[in-house]
């Protein structure tokens, strides 16, 4: 697995407690080896996942964000993943305009019994993030960058149509 041979990247996972967190547990119980980049944040339901948590992670410098919930119709809270699906799909579609590579965010459904599927999802997603490499930082990395940016800003480049 290439992910283990090179430097780890920062991947944040948001998982619902009842299905996907359980699925990740099942993968652990089955000793299904996975890349170690992912750090999982447990939430009660995918309906609790504010798309802004994902944006916050990405703007803070996460290289990838993976969200997983119960399969549609199987939500422990009946409707949470239906709302989540709408919110997450919209975020996924919106990211390109911000200049954040939309491939760095993914959402999927994994049930508590799908340990192998979880292993597959984590492995594939980690692989994808490693192919994309570290995410470019939104903030300047050095004082030189800052000054260059300040200069640009002073020149007041706006929207193309504002001249």
């Amino acid at each position: 697995m290439p992910a283990q041979d090179i430097r780890e990247l920062r991947i944040v996972g948001f998982l619902c407690n009842w299905c996907s967190y359980g699925g990740a547990d099942t993968a652990g119980v089955g000793r299904f080896t996975q890349p170690t980049d992912l750090r999982i944040i447990r939430v009660p339901c995918s309906g609790r996942i504010d798309p802004l948590f994902i944006v916050r992670s990405l703007l803070n410098g996460a290289d990838g964000v993976l969200v997983s919930g119960c399969h549609p119709r199987d939500c422990h809270y009946a409707e949470g993943n239906f709302y989540a699906r709408r919110r997450l799909e919209l975020l996924k579609r919106f990211l390109p305009v911000t200049g954040i590579d939309a491939r760095r965010f993914e959402y999927t459904w994994v049930s508590a019994s799908e340990g192998q599927r979880w292993q597959h999802v984590v492995t594939e997603f980690t692989h994808r993030i490693h192919e994309l490499g570290p995410a470019p930082s939104f903030n300047p990395m050095s004082e030189v960058d800052w000054n260059a940016l300040a200069l640009q800003a002073a020149q007041g480049q706006g929207c193309p149509c504002h001249g």
């Binding site: 309906g47 504010d50 422990h76």
Partner: protein
């Protein structure tokens, strides 16, 4: 805040691939952490005592345990910190076993990951606050879905335990699959003689209300307070008057409809009582084949009925009941063996299922208990049993073992010899699985005393030759091909989830596994619980089971229900949503999206609209928190700040200070 961190070795489960002392040392550098140690087994009694001691000695007001999944031991540790005098929500867990040590192989990386997960837990804990549970009353009534042997046992145990029971059965009579069986293994006693009295008890028990020909339409509410709507399907017979005399059944001229109770081996009249011991013993009309309902002419049953209980205008009826708990006992269905081309896909009349064979053996069956093969009614002298039809076969999507087929096949081989003493049985099998009390002895008897020929191998083909069916298969022990000219072939079809189970699961919020069987809360420690509080499983709806196991689960589910309803009040989870009225602008978006109706609109003392959470109704999903743009409604224990703290712990914001 003063936080204590405990890193569990879990023997070598964690310590094998995580440097636990190093994780503990790193944790000491985190904000507010004043004590950190590693421990062999945090969940053991000395482990828990050490936590309690540390809370007291170090004056801790929050505890982080890094060990297994919180889905396993969070309740254990919460109780421990409670014993130490802390609120149980001043506790966080980091999952460094299932999510770290068991899935990663490189110790350095695992150790770093474990440290970060601990850091996340610490950051969240710093924003936790003590939460106190509210109490609410429960409805002292239980719903049992499914009237098979598991449901019957659960219902009787609950009723005997003093709770009211509502039983819903889809078919016309309770009894389930067991009512169709002739004899049961390994005692070879009469199935209906064992089950019959229990069915009668259901009918006569003063605490049990029985709805047959009925299905669960919808389920609302939560543990202790479910609202269930039951659809009573039209039977066209007023059961309050019907005496079950059977005159209508005799006179019904429409007899072209196959009889499902007899596994379609014969036809049934359109108005019917499925079998003599049926409970309730009432007639019902099959609308699809009734001449009156289809063509508007006939009415023979109405003419002969002595109590005038036939009502062709009858409509489905919806009944709503409040219950405190639900037992799901919907059982199983048989695998559709027609998917196998090698068994003729239904072209040969004398290839039948094991359950059809039960009906042929049964004295109340279509042949009156004489084995007659379906094609010409002759008594078969050579009977071939084929095992694992739709079990342990990935090619048809049924990789699991149905568990009971080996045993009932042995029983059927024995009964065949009893019925036709000059007969010879052959059994094609993969392995014999007989791990029950007296089970292996029983299969031995079939072979040794009753002379059943067991052939280890799969059947590759069945084809007709004259009035025989040639069964060709492998004998893997002898390493040869075998061909048996059979009069009758019985397929030991496996079990699959009951039709409609997945849809019922959606209503009850109980997830099915990939084969449609309901998932229990824990495979070992919570076999009859589900992840939805107040909903329990019994019998084969959770996975294929034989009768004693189903009965055992029925009783187990009943004991769980009785335990639940014996409390006067239940505690609600305090991790529910809470409105900050100062921030709420009263737009009602949370009310719109709440799946449980747990948020209501109220007015503050100035008349401004505000949202308010009904604590005991809220299930703690957090949909509302995301809906609210002001962040005015926060899910306790999973607030924005708590989750953001975890995000920021994992991805610290990059700030390049420029204060010039």
């Amino acid at each position: 805040m003063r936080i204590g961190v405990f890193i569990c070795h879990c023997g070598s489960n964690i310590a094998g691939t995580v440097d636990c002392p190093s994780v503990a040392a790193t944790a000491l550098t985190y904000p507010d952490v004043v004590f950190s140690t590693d421990t062999m087994y945090a969940c053991s009694e000395p482990g828990q005592d050490a936590i309690i001691q540390a809370v007291k000695d170090k004056n801790l007001d929050g505890v982080v345990v890094a060990s297994c999944t919180p889905r396993m031991h969070e309740p254990t540790f919460r109780r421990a910190v409670e014993r130490a005098g802390l609120n149980r929500y001043m506790f966080e867990m980091a999952n460094i076993r299932e999510h770290v040590s068991w899935i990663g192989k490189i110790k350095e990386q695992n150790t770093v990951k474990a440290s970060e997960l601990v850091r996340m837990a610490v950051e969240k804990l710093r924003r936790n606050r003590p939460l106190v549970a509210k109490r609410f009353e429960t409805v002292k009534r239980v719903l049992v879905i499914g009237g098979g042997v598991a449901g019957i046992q659960a219902a009787l145990d609950c009723a005997d335990g003093g709770q009211e029971v509502v039983m819903v059965e889809r078919e016309q009579s309770i009894g389930g699959k067991m009512a169709k069986l002739d004899k049961t293994f390994p005692t070879v006693d009469c199935s209906s003689c064992v089950l019959g009295p229990k069915m009668v008890d259901i009918a006569q028990h003063p605490k049990i209300t029985l709805y047959t020909c009925s299905e669960v339409e919808s389920v609302g509410g939560y543990v202790g307070n479910f609202q269930v709507t039951i659809r009573k399907k039209a039977t066209y017979v007023d059961w309050s008057k019907c005496t079950g005399c059977g005159l209508c059944v005799e006179k019904c001229p429409s007899r072209k409809h196959p009889d499902p109770f007899n596994e379609n081996l014969c036809n049934a009249p359109s108005i019917n009582i499925p079998f003599p011991q049926a409970i309730p013993k009432k007639a019902a009309i099959n609308a699809a084949s009734c001449i009156m309902l289809q063509k508007g002419k006939c009415g023979a049953c109405a003419k002969v009925c002595p109590v005038k209980c036939i009502d062709f205008e009858m409509k489905d009826e919806l009944v709503t009941v409040d219950v405190g708990a639900v037992v799901v006992a919907t059982g199983y269905d048989l695998f559709d063996w027609h998917k196998y081309p090698q068994y003729g896909e239904g072209r040969y009349k004398d290839v039948i299922t094991s359950l059809q064979y039960e009906r042929l053996l049964s004295a109340s069956g279509p042949t009156g208990g004489h084995i007659k093969r379906p094609s010409d009614g002759k008594e078969p002298k050579t009977v071939v049993f084929v095992q694992c039809v739709g079990s342990r076969d990935k090619s048809v999507g049924r990789p699991y073992c149905s568990g009971f087929c080996c045993m009932y096949t042995a029983k059927q081989a024995i009964l065949t010899k009893d019925h036709v003493p000059d007969s010879q049985s052959y059994v094609f099998y993969m392995d014999i699985r007989s791990p029950g009390k007296g089970y292996d002895e029983f299969t031995r008897r079939a072979m040794e005393e009753y002379g059943a020929q067991y052939v280890r191998g799969r059947v590759s083909m069945i084809y007709p030759k004259g009035d025989k069916l040639i069964v060709r298969g492998a004998d893997t022990l002898a390493g040869t091909q075998v061909e048996v000219p059979a009069d009758l072939v019985v397929l030991a079809v496996g079990a699959e989830s009951a039709k409609g189970a997945v849809q019922l699961g959606e209503k009850l919020r109980v997830a099915p596994d990939q084969y449609g069987f309901f998932v229990e809360s824990h495979p070992k420690l919570k076999p009859v619980e589900t992840n939805t509080a107040g909903v329990f499983l019994a019998g084969a709806c959770q996975g294929p089971k034989d009768i004693p196991a189903s009965v055992g689960q029925g009783s187990a589910a009943a004991s769980k229900v009785l335990g639940l309803l014996s409390k006067k009040e239940l505690e609600s989870d305090p991790a529910v949503s809470r409105v900050n009225p100062a921030r709420c602008v009263g737009c009602g978006k949370c009310i719109l999206t709440c799946p449980f109706g747990a948020i209501k609109a109220v007015a503050d003392r100035f008349g401004n609209p505000k949202a308010e959470v009904i604590d005991t109704v809220c299930q703690g999903c957090g949909i509302c928190t995301v809906t609210c743009p002001q962040g005015a409604i926060q899910l306790e224990h999973f607030t924005d700040n708590q989750i953001l703290a975890e995000v920021n712990a994992l991805c610290p914001p990059k700030i390049f200070a420029n204060f010039e």
